[in-house]
Amino acid sequence: MHDIIILGGGPAGLTAAVYVARKELDALLVSRELGGQPLLTAGIENYMGYQYIEGPELMAKFEEQVARFPIEQKVGEEVVALTRLERGFKVDTDSNGSYEATTVIIATGKRAKQLNVPGEKKLVGRGVSYCAICDGPLFASQKVAIIGGGNSAVGAVDDMVRIAEYVYLISTTELTCDKVLHDRVKDAPNLAIFTGHEVVEVLGDNRVEGIVIRDMATRMEKKFDVGGVFVEIGLIPNSEFARKLVKLNEFDEIVVNCVCETGVPGLFAAGDVTDVPEKQIVIAAGEGAKAALRAHYYLQRLTKD
């Protein structure tokens, strides 16, 4: 049995790993990949110490730092179940891994929300994309639809109006993006904005050919020919595996106190998967450190009893 298992290898999990290693705890890090959401971030200007750094580069530095310590890592495995044992917890993964520890830190972060409309799943990578930063240039000179009304969506619009033939921005609500971003795009000649509209279906057999949207007030449907659909409608916490054990808020985030306790003794959570009010790399890293130190404190008290 390990002293601690850290679930998730983003900024929170990797920071927690360094902290537990320096307390010489027997630690295991389990994560699908290392780096987390910052891997999808191009430029970071507000992580201290680096005036401007690209997400993947910053996370490579996090990884290098973790590699300096003797922490066991199972990368490429994703937790599917977390169960409470008499004196700890058991983690089961999608690779049939089964690991036990006295304490666990959940730092599994968030993933992109899907539209959950017909045609979406089938056409992922074939015109449906959740990463405009990655795939945008592939759709140069094509017509594209961007779904969402926040900074990610309007940021994608800003990029795409420069290279696409036409951009349709579809949002169920009024745009919630920063005014600066909205101002940048609103006069683009190849842009049409549809607020108060939802996506009904993504059309196409082997690749995206069109999209059907619906006016939420009148229920009238419109169809556009597009070659790409960028889904930027928000993030959902990777907390499903823990829902039977911990308290979740209305966004399915794990509720924690200011020392990252979940209310279940020995079970801690850190980063974007929790209800910490702000989702930022520097905050996730700080939460990872707090959770690790609290777990260490908990372990120390256990051995004293």
Partner: protein, 81 residues
């Protein structure tokens, strides 16, 4: 007869794609030579991807076999690492 097959590796990428950077870093760390095809500028490369219905990067072509995304497991397997 040589038991080692020369692996010809191409990486289809866009300049701002973070997973593409991860693939390139992975190849470099393992001493694998590759050609980078920037589909933002290289129209032929873009057509190759699109013609096979693949509209996402990164795509790593290893002797004609494609690995979609930054899939360490598949990359290791196809590169014989």
């Amino acid at each position: 007869m040589s038991t080692q097959t020369e692996k010809i590796v191409k990486v289809y990428s866009t300049p701002t794609c973070p997973f593409c950077k991860s693939v390139k870093k992975f190849l470099e760390e393992n001493g694998i030579k590759y050609t980078e095809l920037n589909v933002a500028e290289d129209v032929e490369a873009r057509r190759t991807l699109v013609s096979r219905g693949q509209m996402g990067v990164p795509v790593t072509d290893i002797n004609g076999e494609w690995v979609i995304g930054f899939d360490k497991g598949k990359l290791k397997q196809k590169l014989g690492l």
